[in-house]
Amino acid sequence: MIQMQALHKSYWRGGSELPVIRGIDLNISAGEFVAIMGPSGSGKSTLMNIIGCLDLADRGEYRLNGERVSGAPSSRLAELRGQAIGFIFQSFNLIANRSALENVALPLLYQGIARDERISLATQALQRVAMLDRASHQPNQLSGGQQQRVAIARALVNRPSLLIADEPTGALDSRNGDQVMQLFNELHNEGHTLVMVTHDPLIGERADRVIMLHDGMVI
């Protein structure tokens, strides 16, 4: 599903080049549950952003489902994010003042799906994460764990081929974190492909495969 070859990415700070990804080769197959780990500054967030089509590599090749992502126009990247990828963030990133149901339905709006179908699909997704009883609650009326489950429903609603999670338990206590990880394991068992960034070894353990990054390279 994911094929990367000789991927490079640098940032420019005050006129000097700061290499972040320094030649990564990586393959992830459909159905895998992969954890990307490494100390801060190792480039794992940047790698995740590139996998998630939020950012582009400078050099090297990245193919998602066989499609060459490197060099695609920004409108195509937006399409891929909307159709093939579901994002889960450390800080949930739900839109304030909008109900859980509206938040979950929002990705479908950008795909031009009619309102009735949006509500029905969002309801299904909320049911999947056992949050249907909170559908009309706003984010500030939900606990962190609940918010993250709503965010997972939002990531699932477009039936993406790839779920990407950035420190999904980083803002949660261990009990809620466990619940989220439990959910990830279930989604994995249902056949979803998951890529998760974490620095917590206990969380990383629950994945099939751990990719360790150090100074922008896989070790």
Binding site: D55, F87, Y110, G112
Partner: protein, 414 residues
């Protein structure tokens, strides 16, 4: 179809965002509303003012023109000079082929002396005018009762009179119908056959532009009668109606040239056309309107800057939301459209509120002052289009900024 639906739904998203910041949205709506109301009031005042002046000018007939001898001319041949330069025997010629731009024409004679006008012991200070049967039509005079002059009244030199409102009140008790009654002018008896409708020239009189005559204190007589009073065949001046307002100058020149040819240059003639007054009115009101529009546009500009400021603030506050929307599939056009829609909606709402406000204001002024303030349909449409344009102009830069964020950058902001 699906693409169109996205943009329709994004307009809904814009409405929700505006509703969630109601107070702020309302204030920016108000800014635009004041600007639009100001622009609209200016245009209503200018069109109302024009109507107002036009209504008074209509009492002369908008296609009217006057031709009379120019008494300032030099006299190269030392001819007899104490003539008006127009004779009733010229009329046949002037009504003929010489002057195709003239639709109809009437001689006007002023009485050489000022005879006493009376009915028993009631007196009138009316001005006497001798005219023919065309005159009331040219001069836009209507009758409240009775009949106008017939050609037979003129040819037969019948002792009949048309009187103005003031004359009617001065000479006859209110209970009495003046039609068929007598009045005496310089001892001669005339029969009243019609009463002229009241004419308002208050504005013109107040700026001294009523030609020095009180339109309601007039007595019209067959010009043949006045010639008999004066003891000669002269005509004081000609009043004519051109075939159109645009042809008024041409018509007046045709009459002048025909007279100059007939008298072989013995007299010079001059003209006045109402059309030239119309132009002057347009020029003055145009100048006032232009100044008003500049002032009102400044108010609108300030409103637009307000919208731009509010939208810039909204973009900064919502960077993270923008990032999230991008992460779940929004492209740059979607983001641009949503913020632009917010600005245009604010502005359009302001436009509509401004129009409503302007209508109320105009209506109130109309009731209070009687000054007609009528916004035109064109003015209303222009107001709405302008408010949409203001929204696009003031929203474009902030929306563009929002759309140009890289998704990773937007998500990183707190």
């Amino acid at each position: 179809m699906n693409r169109l639906r996205v943009f329709i739904e994004l307009t809904g998203e814009a409405v929700i965002a505006l509703w969630q910041n109601r107070l702020r949205s309302l204030l920016s709506v108000l800014g635009i509303a004041i600007g639009i109301a100001a622009v609209m009031t200016v245009s209503a005042v200018s069109s109302g003012g024009k109507q107002f002046v036009l209504k008074e000018l209509e009492t002369f007939g908008l296609r009217s023109l006057w031709v009379f001898r120019d008494y300032k001319e030099k006299d190269p041949q030392s001819r007899v000079r104490d003539s008006s330069g127009i004779d009733s025997r010229d009329l046949k010629l002037l009504k003929g082929a010489c002057c195709p731009a003239v639709k109809r024409l009437s001689p006007v004679l002023l009485a050489a002396n000022r005879p006493i006008v009376q009915n028993g012991n009631r007196y009138s200070s009316a001005q006497l005018k001798g005219v023919d049967a065309n005159y009331t039509g040219i001069n836009n005079d209507r009758l409240t009762m009775g009949r106008g002059f017939q050609p037979g009244d003129i040819k037969g030199r019948r002792p009949v009179a048309l009187i103005g409102e003031t004359v009617s009140q001065d000479l006859y008790p209110q209970s009495e119908n003046p039609i068929g009654r007598d009045l005496r002018i310089g001892g001669r008896r005339y029969q009243v056959i019609g009463v002229l409708e009241y004419k308002s020239r208050d504005l013109l009189a107040s700026i001294g532009s009523d030609g020095g005559e009180d339109a309601n204190n007039r007595i019209l007589l067959p010009y043949t009668q006045v010639q008999q009073m004066n003891g000669n065949q002269q005509v004081s001046y000609l009043q004519a109606e051109a075939v159109s307002i645009a042809k008024a100058e041409q018509a007046a020149d045709q009459l002048r040239l025909a007279l100059q040819r007939r008298y072989r240059g013995s007299y010079q003639y001059t003209k006045i056309t109402l059309a030239s007054y119309l132009k002057t009115v347009d020029r003055i009101l145009g100048g006032i309107t232009a100044m008003g529009v500049v002032a009102a546009s400044t108010a609108l500009l300030v409103g637009g800057i307000g919208v731009a400021g509010i939208m810039s603030t909204a973009v900064v506050e919502r960077i993270r939301e923008i990032g999230v929307r991008m992460a779940i599939g929004a492209n740059r056009r979607h983001i641009l459209f949503q913020f632009l829609a917010e600005a245009v909606l604010i502005s359009l709402a302001g436009g509509m509120a401004g129009l409503l406000f302007g209508l109320l204001l105009g209506g109130t002024l109309d009731l209070l002052t009687g000054f007609p303030l009528m916004p035109t349909l064109g003015g209303v449409l222009t107001g709405l289009i302008v408010s949409v344009l203001v929204g696009l102009a003031s929203g474009y830069y902030p929306a563009r900024r929002a759309a140009d964020f890289l998704p990773v950058e937007a998500l990183r902001r707190e």
